[in-house]
Symmetry: C2
């Protein structure tokens, strides 16, 4: 095909949303379509045209009842391609920071080719000796979430007691490993405990679904109490953790996934611990820490090259498999970080 000025126009498979959504996405909220795209950026534009290689399935990709004032983008908008993180190859660029052939990661769309106008959320990949798909996880937004929330906010010290909820998620498995690499004692909770100890080297793990009394479970695994809690669950888990925090404990709050879709959030009763134990609770958004990527890569790339970090991916092949892969992460179907392989490099 050729466009009106003779540039190449190609077919562009896409995954689109039917509408805004409320809560976790279902496969029927999405549909496949094939459009066309001109493989050139418009004259005078500073946007970037990419070929998508990997797309990322992340827990934030859902509808949330609460009004989030600073939400950067919606994953789901009516009859628009799903918006999310990915790794892509630059085919054409009107932006001075990117040129043809660059590999980038950042916010793209669920389609074969994308014209990216919000180039502020696009980052050129400098280190290509590691699997490119890692930039959707360990070396991308989830990795920085773990690093910022644990290493930066919590100032961990060797020997401290660390608890990670959602420990099997893309972020939680990294927090646990960063903590072990710091010489901490680490316990994780997840919907399944099997692999946390064997695979990711957590000291202990438990399945929160099997524990009727979370406070008792935490006291079993932390007889000395908890120094650092990486929070992504909220609700009853947070309330139980508060009862077990040590003096000067730190809680970094990446999210509260148990609370987003409730009509009324659960009440947290044990906040007095904040006074008694002089606890710091800090919510954060990873976007505030993107300037730390060079520092983070200095720390983590050697660990990857020396195979000191276990990083598991669950790869769905083909854009068509994207909706099922995305839906699956909300019921824990994935084993490790869920990615969608759109095209080999």
């Amino acid at each position: 095909m050729a466009g009106e000025h003779g540039e190449e126009v190609v077919r562009n498979k896409q995954v689109l949303a039917r509408d805004y959504i409320d809560g976790n996405p279902k496969e029927t909220d999405m549909y496949l379509n094939t459009g066309t795209i001109r493989l050139k950026v418009p004259e005078g534009s500073n946007s970037v045209l990419v070929k998508n290689l990997y797309l990322s399935c992340d827990p934030y990709m859902r509808g949330i009842k609460a009004n989030i004032p600073d939400r950067l983008f919606y994953s789901f908008a009516p009859d628009s391609p799903i918006v999310g993180y990915g790794v892509a190859k630059v085919l054409d660029s009107g932006h001075p920071d990117f040129k043809e052939g660059d590999i980038v990661w950042g916010v793209t769309k669920w389609e074969e080719y994308s014209l990216i106008t919000l180039t502020g959320s696009l980052f050129k990949i400098q280190h290509t000796d590691v699997p490119l798909s890692y930039y959707t996880g360990l070396l991308g937004m989830p990795g920085m979430t773990a690093y910022a929330g644990f290493n930066e906010l919590c100032s961990p010290k060797k020997g401290e007691y660390v608890f990670v909820s959602s420990a099997f998620g893309a972020v939680g498995q990294l927090v646990g490993q960063f903590a072990k690499l710091m010489g901490c004692y680490v316990v994780g909770s997840a919907g399944s405990k099997e692999k946390l100890k064997n695979k990711f080297g957590f000291d202990e793990a438990f399945n929160y679904k099997e524990e009727h009394d979370l406070d008792a479970a935490l006291k079993r695994y932390f007889p000395e109490g908890i120094d650092i809690y990486f929070e992504s669950v909220g609700g009853k888990m947070l309330d139980a953790v508060l009862l077990n925090m040590r003096l000067h404990g730190r809680i970094s709050v990446a999210g509260m996934i148990s609370q987003y879709n409730l009509d009324e959030p659960e009440g947290i009763k044990n906040l007095l611990a904040v006074v008694y134990q002089r606890i710091r609770i800090e919510g954060f958004t990873v976007y505030d820490y993107y300037h730390l990527f060079p520092k983070f890569y200095d720390l983590v790339l050697p660990y990857i090259r020396e195979e000191k970090i276990v990083y598991v991916e669950d790869t769905a092949v083909g854009l068509e498999s994207g909706p099922a892969a995305l839906v699956g992460i909300f019921s824990g179907q994935n084993v490790g970080k869920q990615v969608v392989l759109v095209a080999p490099e």
Copy 2:
């Protein structure tokens, strides 16, 4: 009178507790007695013998149901003098840091003369050109509570929006003034709003008892939201504040006075704001900040000398008036910091 070794033994009026207490003290929880005391420290002891000048009535002087792991001392113990902060004159000392004639502030007892063995909680007063009673408040533990919780933990910036609960208390009135001196906009809530604006220079004030909807009240006074909340109330007030915090807001938690004596604390429902607004909540104990007194005095003594700080004291005269004065602070009888004048210097 003369002791067995010929030293002076004198009558020593005391205020004693009948028993441990639960909740706020009542006058009947205390009784007066007159004992005797030898005005010399025991041979070989490194304790300090003082004549008490001022005693301090502080909100922490009550029974608390919750088990506070690091509670430094009990104010009330059966048939023992009430323990609390005060200003005193050293009559004799076995400790190298103190000598006869020194004026000190710190933890003493409710009696005319005290033998102080825990000298770690005693501080020599270097600056005696300001009223000595100030060392029970502005220049003592409450002053450092305000300074540590506001200036240190919250890193206030000029123009930020500051909310102070218990704004009429010894700490709250100082937080409000420190905030004004930093160029912040300050609103206080208290059981009475009259004096907060006129006397202490708050920009606005409201009486929380007159507000059926705390969220609406806060939205009225903070249409732009709150950057810094100095928390000492907890419960419904905290829940309403969370709905009104701005991005990167900071909450320093000095206490949660509404919650201590409940059988079950109120549930806090709006903690999701911690994630959405990237809020930091930090509990603290003033004892962790006592090393900052020199820095604090460098800031605050010039303000006092230049009369840029309004500091109001409510002075009860005579040790006998102590029980009523202490009981009064829990029902808001005092106007400003409640002190008991035991003896003029």
